[in-house]
């Protein structure tokens, strides 16, 4: 653990400094903000379904993952994470065309969630590569890096 941290500090000094600043700022703000965020994630009705689908996806049980995401869409249709996971499911199923579509949809719902958008662009890069659309893949990679 310590070695890993050391490695991280050595390889990513700027990131560590920024993290420190963020943590310090949050501490100065009081921890209420952080707790609030956590609570909202837990109370999202789709959260349970997302984690279940995530596990199913890792097992390669795409059917189950998909069914869980269809449920999640009924419960929380404007959740960009749900559409992103659908994209990953389609990627796992080898349906790269739909992977692209679900990533694009997820991006429209990302609502300034940079992390989600980055994940979408990274997946788009992979999907476009599989589709042989190298220019689009390169563009997606660029967006993932610069977002």
């Amino acid at each position: 653990m310590l070695i890993m941290m050391m490695k991280t500090i050595i390889y990513h000094p700027v990131r560590m400094i920024l993290r420190f600043i963020v943590v310090a700022a949050l501490m100065m703000n009081g921890c209420a903000g952080v707790e609030h965020i956590d609570e909202s994630i837990i109370s999202t009705p789709a959260a349970e379904l997302l984690s279940d689908a995530e596990q199913a996806l890792e097992r390669g049980d795409y059917n189950r993952a998909e069914l869980q995401m269809e449920r999640a869409m009924r419960v929380d249709p404007r959740n960009g994470q749900v559409w992103h996971l659908m994209a990953r499911i389609r990627y796992g199923q080898g349906d790269y065309g739909q992977t692209v579509q679900f990533c694009l949809k997820s991006n429209t719902l990302a609502n300034h969630d940079r992390n989600l958008m980055r994940q979408n662009w990274l997946l788009l890069e992979k999907a476009y590569t599989m589709l042989g659309e190298m220019i689009k893949a390169e563009d997606a990679r660029h967006k993932a890096v610069t977002i």
């Binding site: 700027v14 990131r15 920024l18 837990i42 109370s43 009705p45 959260a47 349970e48 379904l49 059917n63 189950r64 998909e66 069914l67 869980q68 269809e70 449920r71 869409m73 009924r74 419960v75 249709p77 404007r78 659908m86 739909q98 579509q101 679900f102 694009l104 949809k105 429209t108 719902l109 609502n111 890096v145 610069t146």
Partner: protein, 785 residues
């Protein structure tokens, strides 16, 4: 084949050498002998024929169970917009029983803002959802808490077993829940045999003594009081024969009963009987079999029935409508007493059980309500989508479960508001045959939540939502302006709203006019849509080309032949409300085409997923263009032709929509969406005459009232990247223009801000915050990771 053996033996015996020669001496005698032989052989051939009929029908029919259709399962979570009343209605529609104290699956208990219930096991495509005892608390029209009744722990998401809303049978309007011999309660079997056919286990299909006894009693009374039919004969009668009382039928019945007994075991015959017996009528559906009757009359599984309830069902066999516990409780109660007495005498129940059963209430649930076959229009859609999207061979196995997207609560709202509004409108316009259709779907994934095919929900005739194809009028305009945007137009591009005359491809001249017969001069494109100006629309459409607009229309989801006449630009294209909903679905889901669906999955008899419908989406339009159109459709509702929606909905909902009216006020349309619901309404008359209503004086009212009852979410249009906002001054729209002197901030696709306009920040972000973000953004970009 045993029968062929018998036939051979008979032939053997009939060989001339084996018949006594003496018998053949007289010609008269030999003639009558020949006749006898021919008759006997004919009889045998007839029996062979009947035998084939029986084998074929019995083997085939025993397993012919229709597919059962279910509504969407209700997903409960705290924060869900749902009142205790709505939840109770949902439970009743799903066949739950109201109880004073909940114990068993399928029961619920309501006390003010708290509902306790025990859900039932249900096999979803993702697996078994087990029965769960739940306590649900409501506050402020929402679920405030869901807990486990026993353990008390919080439950974040609970899925209830869905309501059965119908079943498909390829040939007949009947339904059954099939049970096996093991699933038949012993007490039911014993009662059935004791009452209907005491010698069932011993006889060979018919009971001659019973027939003689019945004949004697009937003869003495001079009318038919008693039947001597065995269970086997009754089954044959139900299975193969008509209801007529003729000797020929009796004769057939007897032979077939004998054959049935020869081929099948007593258990098989009893099980078939239990599944086949007719036990009453539920509207257009015949109730067949004890299991379905148990659900229908008592809302219980067969195995959970108490002796008094078993007595009711067995008693009903004699005359299902005469002893109907719902319509004739007195007769039914009397008959139940008779059966219970038999049960006691035969020691099927103890004396204590008998006493308890005699005083039990006839129907123990206080309210009986069923969602079954309540939604013929929706079921019609399910049937059509099924045959369209599923291969016939996937659907041949029996006992399929079809899970649909129907939301019974939304459906109830739609039915109620459509009927009520039509009645009001008829009074206003002094008409009496106004009809209507409504389609409701989810905004994001195109699931059809409700469908009204006419003002009387239970009528299963003409399904207007699917089959009334009418000119859509101004509902086409967003497609015209979307095409214009694709061609470089902006929301502030000036359009001439001036008289125009075109030669019709079919001959003659086409001279469109505005609805108010006024000409508005130069108007910004956005205003032409907000106030639905026909002339400006035709101008824009002709400039970009009708063909291009048709192409856009197809990309939005339109199918079928469309002739690119200029009149198409004003909606001279006939579509059903469902087809219109598909078009507007593409707007509501921000440019993604999503096929609308009424079926979520089909499950096989072994609870395996046969085929999931699988969501598929396709981004067909530039998100910026769609944003501009949706932004304008919001203006239609806030200040344009849809402004009267403010009577029904708060402005904060920011709904987007469009009115539509066809020539001579024959059709009144409104299509629009909020943050989570898309609703399309059509009003008109079946004989296509004028109804005297525009889109805003007719369909809009239904739309507003349906939406108001749905507790819908505000429409938050997310700005796609690549948009800029600018303040536009309308000084150059002409001195007589109503826009002269006005200015406002409008969104533009990057690089299309008109000369002279001032760029401003997006209203979605407060100016200060935007600047701050920009600064952070720049800072962040210094670091390349």
């Amino acid at each position: 084949m045993d029968l062929i053996d018998i036939l051979n033996k008979i032939k053997e015996r009939l060989k001339p050498g084996k018949i006594k020669k003496k018998f053949l001496r007289s010609p008269l005698k030999s003639a009558s002998a020949l006749t006898l032989i021919i008759a006997f052989v004919a009889l045998i051939f007839y029996a062979v024929h009947l035998n084939m009929v029986i084998r074929r029908k019995f083997d085939g029919k025993r397993w012919s169970i229709p597919a059962v259709v279910y509504a969407r399962p209700l997903e409960l979570f705290s924060g869900l917009a749902l009142t205790a009343d709505q939840m109770e209605m949902e439970l009743l529609l799903a066949g739950y029983r109201s109880e004073s104290e909940v114990k068993d699956p399928g029961g619920y208990e309501r006390r003010g803002d708290t509902i306790r219930l025990v859900s039932r096991d249900f096999h979803f495509p993702d697996g078994l959802e087990e029965s769960l005892p739940l306590i649900v608390t409501f506050a402020d029209n929402r679920i405030s808490k869901i807990g486990h009744i026993v353990s008390g722990e919080n439950i974040s998401l609970a899925r209830l077993d869905p309501a059965r809303i119908g079943s498909f049978h390829p040939r007949r309007h009947e339904d059954r829940i099939l049970v096996t011999k093991e699933e038949l309660p012993l007490i039911l079997i014993r009662t059935l045999i004791a009452v209907e056919d005491k010698k069932f286990t011993k006889h060979f299909g018919i009971d001659p003594l019973a027939i003689l006894r019945a004949a004697y009693i009937n003869f003495r009374a001079g009318s038919t009081l008693q039947g001597g039919s065995t269970l086997t004969q009754q089954l044959v009668k139900n299975f193969f024969l008509s209801n007529e009382r003729t000797m020929w039928r009796k004769f057939n019945e007897a032979i077939m009963a004998l054959l049935l007994e020869a081929h099948y075991s007593k258990d098989e015959i009893l099980t078939a009987y239990a599944n086949e017996i007719f036990l009453g009528q539920d509207g257009g559906r015949a109730v067949h079999g004890f299991a379905l009757a148990s659900q229908f009359y008592f809302h219980k599984d067969l195995r959970d029935l108490k002796p008094d309830q078993i007595a009711v069902l067995v008693g009903m066999i004699k005359g299902p409508s005469y002893y109907d516990p719902l319509r004739h409780p007195d007769r039914c109660l009397k008959r139940r007493g008779v059966i219970l007495e038999v049960m006691q005498q035969e020691k099927i129940i103890s004396d204590d059980q008998y006493r308890l059963a005699m005083v039990a209430e006839l129907l123990d649930s206080r309210r009986v309500m069923s969602g079954f076959n309540r939604y013929p229009a929706f079921l019609d859609l399910v049937r059509r989508q099924l045959s369209q999207d599923y291969r016939q061979e996937d659907l041949t196995s029996d006992g399929l479960k079809i899970l649909t997207t129907l939301d019974p609560l939304v459906q109830a709202q739609v039915e109620q508001e459509l009927t009520a509004t039509l009645e009001e409108l008829e009074k206003e316009t002094d008409t009496n045959d106004l009809e209507g259709a409504v389609v409701v779907s989810t905004r994001e994934n195109g699931e059809i939540l409700a469908l009204a095919g006419g003002r009387i929900p239970l009528h299963s005739g003409f399904n207007r939502a699917l089959d009334a194809k009418r000119p859509i009028g101004s509902l086409i305009k967003p497609a015209v302006f979307l095409t214009a945007l694709k061609n470089g137009y902006t929301l502030s591009t000036p359009l001439e709203d001036m008289p125009i005359s075109l030669s019709n491809p079919g001959g003659g001249m086409w001279t469109p006019d505005n609805f108010d017969h006024k000409h508005h001069g130069r108007v910004p494109m956005m205003e032409a849509l907000v106030f639905s100006y026909n002339l400006a629309t035709v101008k824009a459409g002709l400039d970009v080309g009708v063909e291009q607009v048709v192409q856009t229309f197809r990309m939005l989801g339109a199918e079928g032949d469309i002739v690119p006449y200029p009149s198409f630009l004003l909606g001279a294209v006939s579509m059903s409300p469902l087809e219109v909903a598909q078009i507007y679905q593409t707007f509501s889901s921000e440019g993604f085409y999503i096929p609308q669906r009424a079926i979520s999955s089909v499950i096989g008899p072994d609870n395996s997923l046969l085929k999931s419908y699988g969501l598929s989406i396709e981004q067909r339009f530039n998100p910026q263009h769609i944003f501009l159109i949706n932004f304008t459709l919001q203006r239609v509702v806030s200040e344009g032709t849809g402004a009267s929606i403010s009577q029904y909905l708060p402005a904060s909902l920011l709904a987007a929509g469009k009115t539509g009216t066809s020539n001579d006020l024959r059709d009144s349309w409104f299509a629009g969406f909020t943050g989570d619901r898309l609703v399309v309404v059509w009003l008109g008359s079946d004989d296509n005459k004028s109804i005297g209503l525009t889109g805003s004086s007719g369909a809009l009212k239904v739309w507003g009232r349906v939406m108001a009852g749905l507790d819908t979410q505000p429409l938050d249009l997310r700005e796609p990247p690549g948009l800029e906002w600018a303040r536009v001054y309308y000084s150059d729209f002409g001195a007589d223009s109503r826009y002269n002197g006005r200015s406002e901030a409008l969104p533009f696709v990057k690089g299309t801000i008109p000369v002279g306009a001032y760029e401003v920040s997006s209203p979605a972000l407060p100016a200060k915050k935007l600047r701050k973000l920009d600064l952070l953004e720049r800072l962040r970009k210094w670091f390349p990771w």
